[in-house]
Structure formats: structure tokens, C-alpha cells
Symmetry: C3
Subunit: 263 residues, 3 copies
Amino acid sequence: MLELRLVQGSLLKKVLEAIKELVTDANFDCSGTGFSLQAMDSSHVALVALLLRSEGFEHYRCDRNLSMGMNLGNMAKMLRCAGNDDIITIKADDGSDTVTFMFESPNQDKIADFEMKLMDIDSEHLGIPDSEYQAIVRMPSSEFSSICKDLSSIGDTVIISVTKEGVKFSTAGDIGTANIVCRQNNTVDKPEQSTIIEMQEPVSLTFALRYMNSFTKASPLSDQVTISLSSELPVVVEYKIGEMGYIRFYLAPKIEEDEEMKA
Amino acid sequence: MLELRLVQGSLLKKVLEAIKELVTDANFDCSGTGFSLQAMDSSHVALVALLLRSEGFEHYRCDRNLSMGMNLGNMAKMLRCAGNDDIITIKADDGSDTVTFMFESPNQDKIADFEMKLMDIDSEHLGIPDSEYQAIVRMPSSEFSSICKDLSSIGDTVIISVTKEGVKFSTAGDIGTANIVCRQNNTVDKPEQSTIIEMQEPVSLTFALRYMNSFTKASPLSDQVTISLSSELPVVVEYKIGEMGYIRFYLAPKIEEDEEMKA
Amino acid sequence: MLELRLVQGSLLKKVLEAIKELVTDANFDCSGTGFSLQAMDSSHVALVALLLRSEGFEHYRCDRNLSMGMNLGNMAKMLRCAGNDDIITIKADDGSDTVTFMFESPNQDKIADFEMKLMDIDSEHLGIPDSEYQAIVRMPSSEFSSICKDLSSIGDTVIISVTKEGVKFSTAGDIGTANIVCRQNNTVDKPEQSTIIEMQEPVSLTFALRYMNSFTKASPLSDQVTISLSSELPVVVEYKIGEMGYIRFYLAPKIEEDEEMKA
């Protein structure tokens, strides 16, 4: 039997809005350590990894490891029916082919049960090794989101270049070119607005803006986003989920443009 | 001659927005007692009854009973041109085939006259007998509206079941099932947020969500909605219009699902 | 070399939003006196004239007169990437076939360069003589905008009639007719809400609402709009751009309806 009670139910609503565009169907894995998901996007280019640690739930009961296949569009439809202040409980009986989402309004006047059919989904869990990155940029998630959106009106790819001074986002398209530079800025009094760059060596990589724009749907989860870059590795775009976990998006750089950039 | 002056013109704007989706053309009946309308929706399934009592108007002159056929879409187009704080006056000369809506801005700097052609509409006025209902639920109109909208993302029909403890709204569809329970809650300090159930005997009836969602377009008119239910009668969904009247929607229950529910 | 630095960059963003619907491609002319544009709309019915005087820029360098052909849709796309508080600098090298828009965030943490290709556009500059007008109406731009929008839901043309008492906007269509009268109103304490009529003689002219609605896209630039009318001249609809310039729209009256009106 599974019963996970999340007082701040809006987090789960935001998680679904963040990933439902990228991933259609996925297995949610439940174990003693937490509630997690790992899935490729439908074109098998990007990878999403979600973790909600058990300590973050008000009540966390998971008698044995369980993998529940869900259609994320349907799950998002149901979670959209939860109020932003509602407490959400995820329930499943052992061996059942359904999962139940329970929404309780803060004053307990309104209680909703949404029962969803589970699916069988083939998936292999990839081991993602911890890596050293050449550069790690932490910046306001809203700024990263608006930069990706702005550049999309000009081109299809973004070149992210990191130096000690700042991070530059560039694109080019039929109507012209664009460069946006964000300077390192360790604003002490408003840490959520700071831009902090940890750099081992300068790096410059090219990515498809379409995926970056998808990743930024997670912005409501966190004031800050962390972008980890290395020449030989997929970029990691990470949004923390309060103290309880994260969503990480992985995307391989485009090789050709990368070469051009180094010139 | 007819001249009806409504200081709170926004009420008339909201009335039109509430019924124009359901009813295309209808006769507005004007008599000494008030301004009223009774009409079936275009598929002849639901009935709308509107009453604005003469006492609610700042000035009410109706020399003889008059029935004015109007296209509600066109009337809504004109009323949308009135400001929310405008005073609205409805004018018609005896025997004229037009009606005039006059909008005065609060400071009288802007005065607009919109003249609309009337139509001949065949209609029979149904006598609606006062009935005893097995259960009457009064609840926040915004909550009823969001419940109907939420359930529509899962299924096509709603089963409304009333017991002493509360009212349950249920649906089922391809992706799963949903149950939303609202408990009786007589919040004394905020009466507009209370949910009050007057029950003679438990009742459980099934309705098409499509119509329920149409009815909730009247929510801006009133903080509370009253839902009156009996096994053998159409449900009545009523929104008060200030002190001056009401909109009532009538809809017959679906028979088959009703039978299933009693099990 | 050209370098124009505009601290209140949002003005340029609003200018583009105001004219990009009406004009597809146009030459921006830069001289010692200012940055200007004159263009016909694509159906050659309406004329737009823009002036931003050099004194309005924080820094204004224009070594020699320059005419830069731009696609306004693409230019608007780039300017939409500037924040509302950003400082915008327009830069061009002599003989270059590109123009650069630089956006600096208020705290200088984010700097963007957008480079756009220029186009060759044939255009003849019309001399617009200063004229005497029979009537000049100054009124809140938001009110003029909502009147044009409201009348569009009834008819295709607007008859603007000015008398000493006020200005009347009229239309007629299949569903009926509409007249909106705005009275002269010299509100002393809130000049931006005043309606002021300077009249030599009464005038009544007919215009296509489609163009009037396009002109009102400039409303965010100014609280007030000035409408100058004469029987034999195109109407001038003018929006001031702070202290530094204006957008003026010119539109010839429709002749037939004008004749009818005089009856």
C-alpha cells in the first residue's frame, strides 16, 4: 500500500505542468527514499529526472517498491482540479491498476478523489553518473526563461558561452542575430536574483531552443535555475523543488555548431 | 411606451452574458410587475427564466404589456458597449419594431444610444408550478462553477447526490473517475462562503455537464447559487440578481444513470 | 555613424506596436533634428508620420542623414525582447546593411545586442502642409479607443460630427444603429481625462472604422488623442510621445456617406 500526503500540493501541480509537454507517458517510481521519475522525451533527445524525497511529505507510506505507469496529460488534467492551497494525497493499493489523487481544501470543507487508470510502460532506468562540469551557472529562472523565449523569436538554436565575466546566450536566424550577456552578480540582499558562475574553464555549447523552452516550464518551481555545462556531456538544467527534491533536464549539445563556436 | 432605467447597468450586462450562450432568440416580456424572459435553449432541453422586478429599477414605465423579440447575441454585443458603471435605460415606443438601449456614464459626459431591431418570435409561456423539493443546496457560486468545470475534464455527466452531511458531485470517463464532496458549512461570519443543505430525503440525480457549465455563466451575478433537487422534477439552478430578481435554469435529470445511482 | 540612446526604451517598443499592424516595411530617416518615419499603409489609404526629436534622446549622434529600410514586424519582434525598463540604443555604421538594437537592463547586469538586416525600400516623402482645421477634438485616448472598438461591433464606418456641445460618433449596421456623444468637459484637476473641442464651424465626416481601430493601437503612448477635422482634408489622429515627438495618422474621409450626413 502506498499513501503519500503532500501539504504543499501546488508543488505536484507545478511538477506536472513542468514535464507534461516533454513526456507523454512515464513510470513514477516509489520507494522508501522517495517518489521519482526518469523519462526520455517522445523524440528521445532530452531526459527528465524528478525526485521528491520522502522527508518532504507530511506522511509517507510505501510498503514495497512500486512503479506506476501514468499518462502525464491525464494526470495533469486531474491535478489541475486541485486548488492551489489543497493538500494532495497519492494513494494506491498493492496490485491495483489504479491510483487515487485526493485533494483536501485547507478548511476541509471540500474533499475530492480522482481515480486514474495505470498503464504498463516499458522503460529502462539509466544510471546517470555524477560528473565534473567545466562551468556551472546559477541564475534567476525567470531570466533564463525570458532569454530562451526571446531568442526563439530570432533563431532555432542557442549558443551558451561561459567566461569568468558572465554567460552569453546567442542565436542567429533569417531576420538577424542576437546576443544576450548576463554578468556575474552576487546580489547579497536578494539571493534569488543573483547570477553566480563557477568556472573551471571557458565553455561554449549549442543547444536546440525548442527543448530549452520546454525545460523553462519548470520555472514556477524555483526562483533559481542551475545550468551545468561541459564539452563532452549533456547540459543539466536543474530546478530545485523546495527542500525536498529537484527536476533535472538533460540535453546533448549540437555538435556542428559547437565546433564553429570554438573558432 | 416603455422606459426602464437601471442605475446598476452592469446587472443587465451580466444577465446577457449568462444566457446568450444557451438561448439564441427570445421574447422579453414587460409588464407592470417587471421585466422577464422565459425561453428554452436551442436544443429544447433546458429552460431559462429571468425576472427583474419593477421595484429594482430607478424609473419604471410600462404603459401596457409588451413582448419584445430579441436576438440575444446582438443584444449582448450592444450591452458590451456599456461601461460597468453606466446607467442603462431600455426604451421602446408603442408599436415600434425597435428597442433602444441608452448608456449614461456616471458623470454624464458620455451618452450612447444603441437601437436594435426587434424580431417576431413564436413562443409559448410555460406555467412552472411551485414544487416541493427533496433537497435544496445553497453553496458558493464560484465553487459550483469550478466543480462543474473540473468534472468536465473527466466526464460528460455529473451525478449530484445529497445527504445530510454534504453534497457529492461525481463523474466518470475514459481516463478515470472523480468524486467531489462539499460538506455542510454554515460559516457565520462569511455567509457568502457557506454551504447549506436543506434535505427532506436523500436524492441522487444525473445531469449533462454541458448544460451545468452553461448555467454557471451566471456566477458573476451572485455569490451564492441554489440547487433544488427532486427525483421526479427538473433541477432548478438559481442565481439571485441583487434584491430585484433571479435567473433560474431548469434541466431534466438523465434517467438511466439515475437508476444506476440508486443501487 | 549613428548612435541614438533612449533611456525610456519602452517608448520605442510602444511606437512599434502602434504602427506595425498598419505598415509592413518602411524607411526610418535619421537626421540632425531627429528620428522619423513616414509611410503609407499597405493598401495606400492611410499615412503614418512619426517623429522622435533628437533632444529627447540621452545621446544622439547622427554624422550624416541616413535612411534605413526596416521590416516593422521583425523590428517589433526584436524590440519585444527589451524589458520595459531597459535603455535602448540604436546603432548603425555608415554604409552598413544592418542596424543594431542594444538593450541595457537598469542595473546593467544584462546587455543584449540584436542585429537586424536592412532592406531597400522605395518611398517618396510627401510634404504635408500645415492646415487650418474646422474642428479639433482632444479627448482621452482610452475613450476614443473604446468608442471605435464598440462601434465596430455594430458597423463598418463611423460618422464623426462635431458641434460646440460635443462630438458624436455614429454607425449603422445589420443589427441596428449606435450614437455615442462625448460632451466637452474641461476637467481642471485631471487634464488627462478632459475632452476639449476647438471649433470654427460644425463638421461631420465619415471614416472606415478598420483604420481608426488600427490608429488606436498608439493609445499606450499618450493619455490624450487629438483629432483634427476639415471637410476637404484627411483627418489627423495624433498621439504625443512624451515631450519628444508624435505619431500622426492621416485618413481621407469617405465621400458618399459624408454627403448623406449633411442632410
